[in-house]
Symmetry: C2
Subunit: 205 residues, 2 copies
């Protein structure tokens, strides 16, 4: 099951062009070694052996390349989350899996490969399309779980659905946003488990 985050901002030329993938892959390696902020499109061009003008045929900026890397990584996280959720039989269990797999996969992605954290941090703090699409997708999944739990009698129905969803997302957020997660890393995996239980107590009918 693949849940592609549609992000193509700043991309140019034919969508399925092989060179595009080559650029993204080489850029990813280069950013990992030297950092996203320190790398220029000229550095990338030199490294890959393409002209700068040729790279600009596919991406209109360094950020557009960063977006493509970010979107690919976040799609990978989302695939893992959907896989974890698919194994749940109740809305309660689905919520736990959504939250805990998100935190686990984000921590792996952002912090085991520390240079990826840098691109993710840019994406969040500059409000890139990749981050916004990711956050929207999580909110949609959360709302669907709440709806399912309300319909099945697992969750309370007094609180307006949008308020419940918003407040739950707010307590999940510090474990999802990489800029905040870095200060919660030494509280894993217990903290998100306890927060998930608190959320589920708040949803009790």
């Amino acid at each position: 099951m693949t849940d592609t985050l549609q992000v193509s901002q700043g991309q140019r030329g034919p969508a399925d062009h092989n060179v595009r993938d080559q650029i993204v892959q080489a850029a990813n390696e280069h950013f990992s070694r030297y950092g996203y902020a320190k790398t220029t499109v000229s550095d990338l061009a030199r490294e890959i052996g393409f002209s700068k003008a040729y790279i600009y045929k596919f991406f209109d900026s360094k950020q557009a390349i960063g977006e493509a890397i970010c979107a690919a990584c976040l799609t990978q996280v989302m695939d893992g989350v959907l896989k974890a959720m698919a194994q749940a039989n109740t809305a309660t269990e689905r919520f736990r899996r959504l939250f805990l797999s998100l935190v686990e996969l984000s921590a792996q992605l952002f912090f085991e490969e520390r240079k990826l954290y840098e691109i993710a941090a840019h994406s969040v703090s500059e409000g890139w399309e990749s981050s916004r699409a990711y956050e929207t997708r999580i909110q949609e999944l959360l709302t669907a779980i709440l709806r399912e739990g309300r319909e099945g009698g697992e969750f309370e129905r007094k609180t307006p659905l949008d308020e419940a969803a918003r407040s739950i997302y707010l307590v999940m957020y510090p474990f999802i946003n990489p800029l905040m997660l870095q200060y919660n890393l030494d509280r894993l995996p217990d903290a998100p488990r306890e927060v998930a239980s608190l959320v589920l107590r708040s949803l009790a009918p």
Copy 2:
């Protein structure tokens, strides 16, 4: 009502010495203007007109001076929080006031005077005594509210008290820790209000 956070680590000589206050006040102004990290004890000595050796009679390091500034500020926040809490008649209302006044006063203290944020950030990330004493005090207040609400029948009693307290502190933490609060600033004041309501739903008997 004053709730002094007892922090005297790294302080020397007579406790009520006037010169100590002079040093702290001058250091506070100097840090505010030039930043904590960039200032040395030699800079401070030159600014105040004391010898470095004389300053070391009262504080054993720059951090000890920073601690004194931090503890004074956090005591000020705590005074405001206790004042807000004193006006509440129920555990529910006391919890709301604890959380919301903490966030409001922290945001004022750390972000209206941006240079104070820098000392607070050092205090949290390096685990200074001032931060640890402050966090412990908040946890004690929270536990006392939970106990009061359980005894009065306002709150549920099934969840172990320490687990309830720990999980609530975890969802409050991103609004209290200045390093994380900076990413929540544009969500004030609505976000902590909605999180407080979520917490209170989780406490319903």
